[in-house]
Symmetry: C2
Subunit: 352 residues, 2 copies
Amino acid sequence: MSEGKVRAGYVRSLDIKHGQVDMAHGSGGRAMAQLIEELFAKHLGNEYLAQGDDGALLPAQGAGKLVMATDSHVVSPLFFPGGDIGCLSVHGTINDVAVMGAKPLWLSAGFILEEGFKLADLALIVQSMANAAKAAGVPIVTGDTKVVERGKGDGVFITTTGVGVVAPGRELSGRCAKPGDAILVSGTLGDHGMAIMAVRESLGFESPIVSDTAALHGLIATMRDSGADIHVLRDPTRGGLATTLNEITRQSGVGMMLQEKALPVNPAVNAACEFLGLDPLYVANEGKLVAICAEQDAEKLLVAMRSHPLGAAAAIIGRVHDDPHHFVQMTTGFGGKRIVDWLSGEQLPRIC
Amino acid sequence: MSEGKVRAGYVRSLDIKHGQVDMAHGSGGRAMAQLIEELFAKHLGNEYLAQGDDGALLPAQGAGKLVMATDSHVVSPLFFPGGDIGCLSVHGTINDVAVMGAKPLWLSAGFILEEGFKLADLALIVQSMANAAKAAGVPIVTGDTKVVERGKGDGVFITTTGVGVVAPGRELSGRCAKPGDAILVSGTLGDHGMAIMAVRESLGFESPIVSDTAALHGLIATMRDSGADIHVLRDPTRGGLATTLNEITRQSGVGMMLQEKALPVNPAVNAACEFLGLDPLYVANEGKLVAICAEQDAEKLLVAMRSHPLGAAAAIIGRVHDDPHHFVQMTTGFGGKRIVDWLSGEQLPRIC
């Protein structure tokens, strides 16, 4: 992308109000340069994009290890209560970098547009990305745009890649959970997934369920500043908390026991889940994290999380233990136990 | 992605020979973990993917500046003479990093799969990516997979992002062309675009036109070892040589004069272009570069390029000059002059 200080000689400005994406916008030629200048660079503009080369030249990071994460976003609908595919694609990738202990530094964005997509909607999405990137302090430094024929895409897909830096010894991984550790979540479960499902299924609640989409690196910085000995962070997105905890038990070679009554779930999310036959444990979050920390630091970490707006409803939800089967189990409200298995089947397609 | 040393308890192996992508493969659950383990990690596996976290933890690069580039790939058809979307998505992003003067280090890959896509074709594509990444010495360190419903995608789209490192003072940019500089290309023009078009239009040549898709960082290392004072490198992909040179004249604030008779074009590509009413100057390349260097070093650079297999047909094709209009012009075979304008309209949709 280029901010294009010297214009490529366009006869007219893009008609963003009434225009549509056409195949020429993916050609590599004049129409694409115009789309980049008048829409992408206009909103996303920063010193790196302004370099105008095929990639971005970025500052050296010295002794810091690098972290790289990528996510393709295909959420449907593109706009939903609490957000849209634009801010979601910024938050999701920032979070993947941040939960590894890194400070997110830069993002790239690859757009796959469908012919006929409204430029007005594209502009809203790009503005939302720009606002999210600015609020997070993580600029989109390079990008790409492709166009596919009508019926070969679905409006817009956005793939973001994030790069961050982590000071030596500060790395986090899903491999570091230890028997005895406490398991915490930063807030209510299933808000993002049920916000999407409520729109799709036209569920008529008095107040809509709102996605929790948010960048978590600020919350994580607060948590680390507390001095608690954090072993694992992870954002429970697709597949929900159940899937994320099963991944961690597998990576770390441990088991887990959750307390059902300790799991924070919004009443409206609970109601929608019951109505649709879904379990909030398997529903996607986009602004929540799981933290696993040394047992003796659990209360200190909880206090730190609750001191941050994105962790106000944080809770201690269970413990890590030895288990050669790497099961996630749960003590239910009735005092029984059940296995919280991997998600089987699709449950919620195109949730992010 | 996780190599998954501990299996998630699948009942059966993936049926790669007869199976298809279904929505569950994008769910975040058991089916997705199985697809990642038995297909992606099997072929792409390396120490970074094996970390199994949401991103990859990568070594520090000290004083080296970083370069980040991204490309979404939507080429149609997915398989073509000389390559497929898999190797293309590796080569294209490596080249974007390499033309900035950087050593490409790592790639990420985001897959958007259409429900019903054959797993056998997906396996061929992933194998092709793996082979290309291995040959280039640039591992795919992290990735993501999403699935969209039948009719909302087109088989597979792949977005790759590359990160590289460049020693201080070795950066290259399209902003550094200077009046007097020589313009070189590394080989014949338009091979990739016409390989795609010949398949699409079922042009029956005796021998098919073969895509030039290739990773150029080895050629670039040879060129830099020559000691020639290289000012700009760029790979002329979508929009072809004409578009790339117009981008550089705009970035550098200069003009250019090309010699038509110096432009290397394969006879079969020329014939196909004439048949379809296309101009090879606007047709995409995926294994060629433009180099702009100090006038006195042009011959030395040409010799270096020709010493490398990917530069055997390299040629000096023109000069940079002062021009307040930033025009790219060409002396034609008949001795006249014409302006080589930006590509207008779409010419070749979904070429990469």
